[in-house]
């Protein structure tokens, strides 16, 4: 009670300093007067009496100071003084202050942005109920091959019924077509992407609609025409109409009833299909009919409380066997992993590299500021000495210095917060970057906390060295200004050199990392895709429901190809069911003249359904045989094109033309062999591919028209649309994409990492060069006299200049030596991100050395030139 009262009084005293000071001064005044009067009464002279009174009181200044401490909170009081002093000093040194705030701000802005990304992807749990127990259950196929990773309906149902370690299992249909659902009827026709989900998916994820309800079991079973809208579509297309539930929508000429809207926090696309927009959800019937389509389901499970991923994997491995036999599916092997891991696991190494890089950048920032502070401290020796002489303790001065650096870094952090908020906002809206959970990157409270922590840490780290330089007792030397070239000065420059060397070493590590990634990126861009994306574009033209038979559809295709081909500027046109770098599906396909067994299975072959003209439109070179023609139609002999890899796999060393490929239970004769196309990713080989004529099959769910143009394709969009208008008046407007866009999107995560890392490296390089410049010009300034003597004794300007540049190179060489040694160890961690270069790529190492040396020479050149222009007489005369 007493303590609390006292605390409150002390706090209050902090805010009334001047009033309380005045009050106390009056009190002391009256004390002195009364005491002096008593002395006078005892016979002292007035002046002497007053002096004695002051003495008896114990020194007015001291007692005032003690009183202030006794009534307030000394720590905060001192802090306030330090702050006031700091702001005064910093204002006087505006150039330094601006520079410091700028580089700390840039560093902290970058750190907090990266932190926000790392937080969203690696730290923050997925936006679902109890996400740590959610697992992703994949088939064990190749990565990137969706058919290999998905599960058929039959085994899925068995899994759901039998798995003991999973409390619940649900699925979505992995082969939903992007833009499959064409919305017509009101407003501009638009292609929407709808994902069929099993009835249990939303309850399993713990997501509830913000409006309306989710599917009933009945609706899922019967594949009822009902739809749940995503919050994005609801807002964009229906102006957040609160009465949307129950409304009818026409999609693909079928009428659907809207039953609800999902919450905006539920972004299916950003979690499961980064870079794509999901507009609505449809019921997924788990029927025999869907089962016949083969591997189609992406499966998500929830671990029973207490069960681990390992236990689930063990159980599912055992369960696989009878399920395999029962459904006659040899390739089925359940693979269980945390959903978290599935969503962002692939980006983990890249993010860790970025986080590490940002840490290194911050260290360089600290080293740089530390150096500048040291230089300032040297210039302020006298001021410090005076303060020591006036009675300031060493601790007090160190505190003052640290306050100064922390204030600087906090000001920088304020700028950093602005940059971080902007950076995260820009990133969240960069739709061109296909990284998962990107939309959920934002600057939140934890980012703010992180920034604050960084600010204080940065301030303390870069303030430490200068603070410890505060003179302990060398008051006399400093006051006499006799420390030029003294031991103190030399120790000083030793610390500064170390700081610069470490800056160079850090910059070296970053440059190497960035260099390796840039070279990988160039290699990726340089890769032979197997098709030519420049001057090619694609447009969705799925035949509407009125084209109900194969003949009608073929006529539609003929008409479409004919009408766009007549547009001037169109070089070639063709159709495909799947564009590169998007979805993939694979079938088992073998040579007819070979026998396959479980030990020697036929290869998994990626399937594309294409028309004549497709190879030309895509720019895929034909290697042997012939291209497809209009005459490869329903009534002619079934033919097929295969890629070189498949040709080698089926008929090594033999001519594949005229051979027969067998898949499912159909035979096709090989008409031609084409070059491999990088369909999965730029970094990955193509695998086996086959092309079926679109006129000889119904096995496609979407159709893209691919156009090759003589002009940039963007300009032809309207001409193409008006050419197709008579065929399909409801052609959606949002689907004209250039192939270059597809390629750009596929390399976007890599581009993102490369851009950031290069930015960091450039920043590091600039800081390091400033560091070099700073220390060399400082040493030139200190040694003006020495240089003057040298020149007076006959050293030429060139001589002086080359000595100084050599000194610079010495520092740089030391830094690079350490940096290269560290990189040799560290770049191994990059190997997962590299493509086409090794982590010890000599070209990159050499390039980095050249760049750093050049920068060092440049940074040393300016002070060297200044030194060479020193007038010996002036230098000798001046102090």
């Amino acid at each position: 009670m007493t303590r609390l009262k006292q605390m409150v009084a002390r706090m209050r005293a902090l805010f009334q300093t001047s009033g309380l000071d005045r009050d106390f001064d009056a009190e002391l005044e009256s004390h002195v007067t009364m005491l002096a009067e008593d002395h006078i009464r005892r016979g002292m002279a007035r002046e002497e009496a007053e002096r004695a009174a002051r003495l008896e009181l114990g020194g007015l200044t001291q007692i005032r100071e003690a009183h202030r401490e006794a009534r307030g909170i000394p720590f905060i009081d001192t802090l306030r003084q330090d702050l006031r002093y700091t702001f005064r000093t910093l204002r006087r040194d505006a150039g330094f202050t601006t520079f410091a705030i700028l580089i700390v701000g840039l560093g902290i802005g970058a750190s907090s942005t990266i932190f926000s990304v790392v937080n969203a992807l690696l730290i923050r749990p997925l936006p679902f109920k109890d996400p740590v127990r959610l697992v992703w259950i994949a088939n064990s196929g190749k990565e990137g091959d969706l058919s290999g990773q998905t599960v058929p309906v039959g085994p899925f149902l068995d899994l759901r019924d039998q798995a003991q370690s999973l409390s619940d299992v649900a699925a979505y249909y992995a082969f939903y077509g992007v833009g499959d659902k064409k919305l017509t009827g009101e407003g501009e026709p638009e292609r929407l992407t709808g994902v069929p989900v099993s009835q249990g998916l939303f309850p399993l994820l713990g997501v509830h609609p913000q409006l309306g309800r989710i599917f009933t079991a009945e609706e899922c079973k019967l594949n009822s025409p009902v739809a749940l809208l995503s919050a994005g579509l609801w807002k964009r297309r229906f102006q957040s109409d609160p009465a949307i539930a129950g409304r009818k929508l026409t999609m693909n000429d079928r009428s659907y009833t809207v039953i609800g809207v999902m919450p905006s926090a539920f972004d299916f696309g950003s979690v499961f299909a980064p870079g794509s927009r999901i507009d609505l959800f449809l019921p997924l019937p788990l029927t025999q009919e869907v089962n016949r389509r083969g591997n189609t389901l992406s499966v998500i499970g929830r671990l029973r409380p207490g069960a681990t991923v390992k236990q689930a994997q063990a159980e599912l491995s055992v369960l696989s066997e009878p399920i395999r036999v029962r459904h006659n599916r040899d390739e089925l092997h359940f693979k269980v992993g945390l959903l978290d891991e599935h969503v962002s696991g692939r980006l983990r190494p890249a993010l860790l590299v970025l986080a590490f890089a940002v840490g290194v950048v911050m260290l360089i920032v600290c080293a740089n500021l530390s150096n500048l502070q040291l230089a300032r401290a040297a210039a302020r020796q006298k001021e410090m000495a005076i303060r020591v002489a006036l009675g300031a303790g060493r601790g007090r001065l160190i505190r003052q210095m640290l306050t100064e650096s922390v204030v600087l870094s906090c000001c920088g952090a304020a700028l950093g917060v602005i940059l971080g908020v902007t950076g995260t906002r820009v990133l969240a809206h960069l739709d061109a970057i296909a990284i998962p959970l990107r939309e959920s990157v934002h600057f939140d409270m934890s980012a703010l906390g992180f920034t604050l922590l960084m600010a204080v840490l940065t301030g303390v780290i870069f303030g430490l060295a200068p603070a410890l330089q505060v003179p302990a007792s060398a008051v006399h030397d400093s006051l006499k200004d006799a420390n030029r070239g003294s031991i103190e000065g030399r120790r000083h420059s030793w610390i500064r050199s170390t700081l610069v060397v470490s800056e160079i070493a850090f910059a070296c590590v970053l440059l190497l990392g960035a260099g390796l990634l840039i070279r990988s990126f160039l290699r990726v861009l340089d890769v032979n895709l197997g098709f030519r994306p420049e001057r090619a574009a694609a447009l969705r033209i799925d035949p509407g429901s009125q084209y109900s038979t194969r003949e009608k559809r073929n006529a539609y295709f003929d008409e479409a190809l004919r009408s766009v081909s007549s547009i001037p500027g169109i070089e070639a046109a063709g159709l495909t069911d799947v564009l590169p770098l998007g979805h993939n599906r694979s079938w088992s396909a073998g040579a007819k003249d070979q026998s396959y067994s479980r030990e020697h299975p036929p290869p998994d072959v990626f399937v594309r359904i294409v028309s004549d003209g497709y190879l030309k439109a895509m720019g895929i070179p034909l290697r042997a045989g012939r291209d497809l023609t209009e005459r490869d139609n329903a009534s002619s002999k079934p033919v097929i094109l295969i890629n070189e890899t498949l040709a080698r796999a089926l008929w090594p060393g033999r001519d594949p033309i005229g051979q027969t490929v067998t898949y499912v239970d159909r035979d096709r004769e090989v008409a031609g062999v084409v070059e491999d196309v990088r369909h999965l990713a730029l970094e990955r080989g193509s695998g086996c591919e086959m092309y079926l004529p679109i006129r000889q099959t119904d096995d496609y769910s979407s159709v893209d028209l691919v156009l090759r143009t003589t002009l940039p394709p963007g300009g032809l969009a309207s001409a193409v649309r008006s050419a197709l208008q008579p065929l399909d008046p409801n052609l959606a407007g949002n689907e004209f994409r250039t192939l270059q866009q597809l390629v750009d999107k596929a390399v976007s995560p890599r581009r993102f990492v490369v851009l950031l890392l290069s930015g960091f490296a450039a920043f590091a390089l600039i800081l390091a060069s400033l560091g070099i410049y700073g220390i060399i010009s400082y040493s030139v300034n200190r040694r003006t006299q020495e240089i003057g003597i040298r020149m007076a004794l006959g050293a030429s300007a060139g001589n002086v200049q080359s000595r100084i540049i050599l000194q610079t190179l010495g520092l740089a060489a030391m830094g690079m030596l350490i940096g290269v040694a560290a990189s040799w160890i560290l770049t191994g961690a990059l190997s997962g991100l590299l493509f086409g270069v090794t982590s010890t790529d000599p070209v990159t190492f050499l390039g980095m050395l050249v760049v750093l040396t050049a920068v060092a020479v440049l940074a040393g050149y300016f002070p060297a030139r200044r030194a060479s222009r020193i007038d010996p007489m002036a230098a000798l005369r001046s102090n």
Binding site: K5, L28, S30, M34, A70, R71
Partner: protein, 114 residues
């Protein structure tokens, strides 16, 4: 300065000030200092300023109250008086002090005889 004084001495000074104010009624800082000096035969207060550190502490704890007034020689001075809470505290502290000093006194006598 105040921090370096031992806690016992500080407590003692607090008690002395409280007792002085209790016995003499409202007094200004100088008066309190004089009074304590006289009682302790000038042995206890090193310098008179110390009294003000003690006074501000006691005011903050709510044990005494301060008010500006006029001294006997017609000087403006700040007068301190003990509060009700201070009086209660004084009684408690006096009891404590007597117990402790009694124990210490006995202890010291024991030593002298032994």
């Amino acid at each position: 300065m105040a921090e370096s004084k031992s806690d016992i001495l500080q407590g003692t000074l607090d008690l002395m000030v409280l007792k002085t104010l209790d016995a003499m009624g409202p007094l200004h800082g100088y008066g309190i200092a004089r009074r304590i000096e006289q009682l302790s035969e000038e042995a206890l207060l090193v310098n008179q300023g110390t009294i003000y550190l003690c006074l501000v502490r006691l005011v903050q704890k709510g044990l005494i109250k301060a008010e500006w007034g006029t001294s006997e020689n017609n000087r403006k001075a700040k007068f301190y008086s003990i509060s009700r809470f201070g009086r209660k505290q004084l009684i408690a502290e006096t009891g404590n002090w007597e117990r402790v000093s009694g124990v210490i006194g006995k202890l010291l006598q024991l030593r002298a005889r032994g």
